[in-house]
Amino acid sequence: MGSVKFRTYHQVEGADASRLAEQVAAQRRRVEERLGAIGRVIAIMSGKGGVGKSYVTAAIALGLADRLPGGVGVLDADLKGPTVARLLDASGPVRLDQDGVHPARGRSGVKVFSMDLLLEDGQPLRWNDPGHERFVWRGVLETGALREFLADVVWGSLDLLLVDLPPGADRLEDLAELVPNLAGALAVTIPSEESRRSVGRAMRSTLRADVKLLGVIENMSGYACAECGRTGPLYPGDAGSALAETFGVPVLARIPFHSASFPPAELTTLSDAVAAVFP
């Protein structure tokens, strides 16, 4: 220090005047309390965009909704590209009362909360902001939104809450901090070599965040012809098996690309496989 002698932060006893640490701790407590009645929280992740992660999430939710009597919920953490609510036919407006915000109900009673329920149709996510230096605070705000989706949505009692994460590993690390007892993560890939590389990176980040990898789901694993029912090749590569071998986890399902709409024909196979690796 220079000529002025003064104590540093840790040398000054007591909390700061704003008690910011207490405010943050209170936020974390709200998450913990809200998730207290949920059997397990599982993240659906991928290092790559466009692999059909939300499609897989919605299919798992739908497949398990009938066999988990305590109920299934889906939190769409993909704030900028939310699609899972549409796949599950969940729509707003959402009810708001003193307990919090109530999730929308989708197919088979799946509880859904998503930024898609809050935005004007077709409009991108836009923050109220000072108009510059967005890079400084945008990530913080996105984590704050995820925290509120966990803490302020009246999830009630559920057997399973699936969290559909955006591409990349950042949000999974945020989720792991917010939900210390996260039961695990499922990785979604397509067969290609590019996908193997980027999903592999995200899976390594998952392990670094101390989150258990439960398995790999290979989506778009060939093309299922709607006419003859046969499945032909779509992407070269075998990323599902390669990732499973590298990380010592099972390939839970291979889902071919269907030109027909949701849900996929492999719904039962997929949900059977996922249910088998529940912690």
Binding site: L96, P130, V136
Partner: protein, 149 residues
């Protein structure tokens, strides 16, 4: 963040905040020993960063509203929420809103308007304020640190 009065070697205490409405934020701190006051002035980016954490400089005086950060930060649809009125006691004990205050509230986007109304209602109820006016709203904004509301 702690403010230290170097002369007295005492941590300064939070005194008050101001939200001028231009995206900036100000807070005053006072030394409990010598009474010296300093002002912390935050630019819009710093104000936004602190706001993004969902915390209040100087501490919270009202409980956090559901989806408070999202509702105050996102440009969402006006009809996103179907708001149930709070239980009986509150509905009979609500403060009046002057025409000018209602007009000002009407300028708040529909996505966040319900939450803003509730915050002002709670503020007035806690202080036995019978009627909300723009002046009371200004005071509440400053006391509660409600940037953009």
């Amino acid at each position: 963040m702690k403010f230290l009065c170097i002369d007295c070697d005492r941590q300064m205490e939070f005194e008050e905040r101001a939200v001028p409405g231009d995206g900036t934020f100000a807070a005053a701190f006072r030394c409990p020993a010598c009474g010296r006051r300093v002002a912390m002035l935050a630019n819009p980016m710093e104000t936004q960063l602190v706001g993004s954490l969902g915390v209040r400089i100087g501490g919270r005086t009202l409980d956090e509203e559901p989806l408070e950060l999202v509702r105050s930060s996102v440009q969402g649809r006006d009809d996103a929420f179907r708001e149930d009125p709070p239980p009986g006691a509150r509905s009979t004990g609500r403060p009046r809103w002057s025409a000018a205050a209602e007009e000002r509230l009407a300028r708040v986007p529909g996505f966040v308007r319900g939450m803003v109304r509730k915050i002002y209602n709670d503020y007035a109820l806690e202080r036995d304020i019978a009627e909300l006016t723009p002046e009371i709203m200004d005071r509440a904004r400053a006391e509660l640190g409600l940037e953009g509301m």
